[in-house]
Amino acid sequence: MKILVPVKRVIDPSFKVRLKPDHSGLDMTYMKMVMNPYDEAALEAALQLKERGMATQVLTVSCGTDDCVETLRTSLALGADETLFIEARYAMTPLVVARLLKAVAVREACDLVLIGRQGMGSDGNQVGPMLAALLGWPYLPFAEALTVEGGDVRVRSKTDRGFETLEAALPALVSVEIGLAAPRYVSMPSLMKAKKRKIVGEAAEALGVDMEMGVAVVQLRSPPERNCGTLLPDAAALVERLRAETGII
């Protein structure tokens, strides 16, 4: 069984993002980039399946600019067997990314896609379900637990009220919750080995998919800042103020 894990490069979630003064984009000074933590959980789950003999190969893929190579190298250092870099010079919409990933999944004859449920930051929750729809593969969303047995995949899928257990035959697509698997650390020797691997990009355009973008960013805004409030001496003062000023309690 061959597992495809798409990995996205995102801003480290412990950093506070800010707009440039002219609002033309994000201020990237001092920002650190990491592998999307949701995809990291997906990759870890894939590596564990391989270690348990459930999978033969783990393939990672990233679509974007040159910087993605660094994230792909990390995936190799973590234990991915092969990696693919789909090069594009501009930001793509989730549907275009899903189309590119479909082309990769079909060409590479993958049996299972494990994908983070959202990109940390863009918070879209779109590429996973779109890719499942385009592939026409069973879609098992929001996996908190995952097993593969005899050509079937079973997940514990998070819902609004609790969870569902869903099951489907491979090939299938599973979108991953951050808690599915705690990522391992990269060891020094495997990092050195991954550094020697050559990662060659292939042009997104060469995959022959429709690159038309159906959504455009018009503007970025900062949300209204909250003002720092009042410090109160004790619980009694708090209750008094809440009753007098908010009417909530």
């Binding site: 801003i11 979630p13 412990s14 950093f15 506070k16 994000l26 919409t93 989730p94 549907l95 940390m120 918070d123 879209g124 929750n125 779109q126 996973g128 379900p129 779109m130 890719l131 499942a132 729809a133 879609y139 098992l140 969303p141 929001f142 998070k158 609004d160 009220r161 609790g162 969870f163 569902e164 257990t165 869903l166 489907a168 919750e177 808690g179 429709d210 973008m213 159906g214 959504v215 455009a216 018009v218 503007q219 970025l220 805004r221 900062s222 949300p223 720092c228 409030g229 009042t230 410090l231 109160l232 004790d234 619980a235 009694a236 708090l238 209750v239 103020r241 809440l242 909530i248 309690i249």
Partner: protein, 315 residues
């Protein structure tokens, strides 16, 4: 031209999120239709509930035994069939787990992009959505002829419900499509909790590492008195004293209640992003330099073990 809302429901009850989605739809131009997809047991009652929402012009009802499971493959195909009848400019659902899994799938079936988690509708084709867990807002323009959106339920108030005396919207059945049989629903479990659900509660209490195990009975009492939901910070989940279902912040629940009470939470970036849209924020922390005080309307520098029992006594 019309707007189609995909109804959300569980155990025979229409979810309040659908009424909130109806409010979002009312700021768009067009008749509002609701599509109910359900198993045979509940389809009729659910359609009636949908028809009684204020501002709804028409209800479509698709019912078949397999629709009870609400599997994405089946519901997306069914919704697509209704959209193909024509006349629709928008399709909306809330950005619940159900909406998050269904709407992008439907968009891909239709070959269009969509905007998820909309908090404000600016014009007929531009929509505001928070990114970086609300640290930034992005305004996006959607080009497709039929625009698909998911809306953040707690950014819109619930539409009213008509009384029995008022005329409800007509209900029309649509032929159900055959089951896709791609995914099997083996089991469905609901969390049994006596407390309100975190993303819907009017008042939420957040517990951080500053809340000891011994303080929990007092916190529970406070939650009882306020009918509040209880959430936790990432540090508490990492200590494995609470499940990630109760996590507040960027990787957990993003909340906007009327009142948020942060107890013993210092306020990491991811946590602040997830709670800062609360109407009123109260923070209790021993450390006067805790970042949570920077977004709190009212703060008490003190020990949770002392402040919470006092609060319980005063309420």
């Amino acid at each position: 031209m019309a707007i189609l809302i995909l109804a959300e429901h569980a155990e025979g009850r229409l979810d309040e999120a659908t009424r909130r989605t109806a409010t979002a739809a009312r700021s768009l131009n067009g008749d509002i239709h609701v599509l109910v997809m359900a198993g045979d047991a509940h389809a009729e009652t659910l359609s009636q509930q949908a028809a009684s929402i204020e501002g709804i012009a028409h209800v479509w009802c698709a019912t078949a035994p397999h629709l009870e499971a609400q599997l994405t493959e089946d519901t997306a195909a069914q919704a697509q069939a209704v959209l193909e009848r024509g006349g629709y400019r928008y399709a909306l659902m809330s950005s619940s787990y159900l909406g998050k899994r269904l709407m992008p799938y439907l968009a891909a079936l239709r070959g269009t992009d969509l905007v998820t988690d909309v908090t404000k509708i600016e014009t007929e084709d531009t929509f505001v959505r928070p990114v970086y867990a609300g640290s930034l807002l992005v305004v996006e323009r959607l080009k497709s002829a039929v625009k698909l959106l998911t809306v953040r339920a707690n950014a819109f108030s619930p539409a009213g419900v008509q009384t029995a005396a008022q005329a409800a919207a007509p209900i029309e059945t649509v032929p159900p499509l055959p089951p896709k049989q791609a995914v099997r629903l083996v089991e469905r479990r609901s969390e049994q909790s006596s407390r309100p659900e975190l993303s819907r509660a009017r008042i939420v209490i957040g517990c951080g590492l500053g809340v000891g195990k011994k303080d929990m009975p007092a916190v529970e009492k406070l939650a009882d008195k306020l009918n509040a939901a209880i959430g936790v910070s990432r540090a508490v989940v990492e200590e494995e004293t609470a499940s990630s279902d109760y996590l507040l912040g960027q990787t957990g629940k993003i909340i906007a209640p009327e009142l948020y009470i942060a107890l013993g939470i210092s306020g990491a970036v991811q946590h602040l992003a997830g709670v800062k849209d609360s109407k009123v924020i109260v923070a209790v922390n021993k450390d006067p330099n805790a970042p949570i005080f920077q977004i709190a309307d009212y703060g008490i520098v003190g020990d949770v073990a002392e402040v919470v029992p006092e609060l319980v006594g005063l309420l």
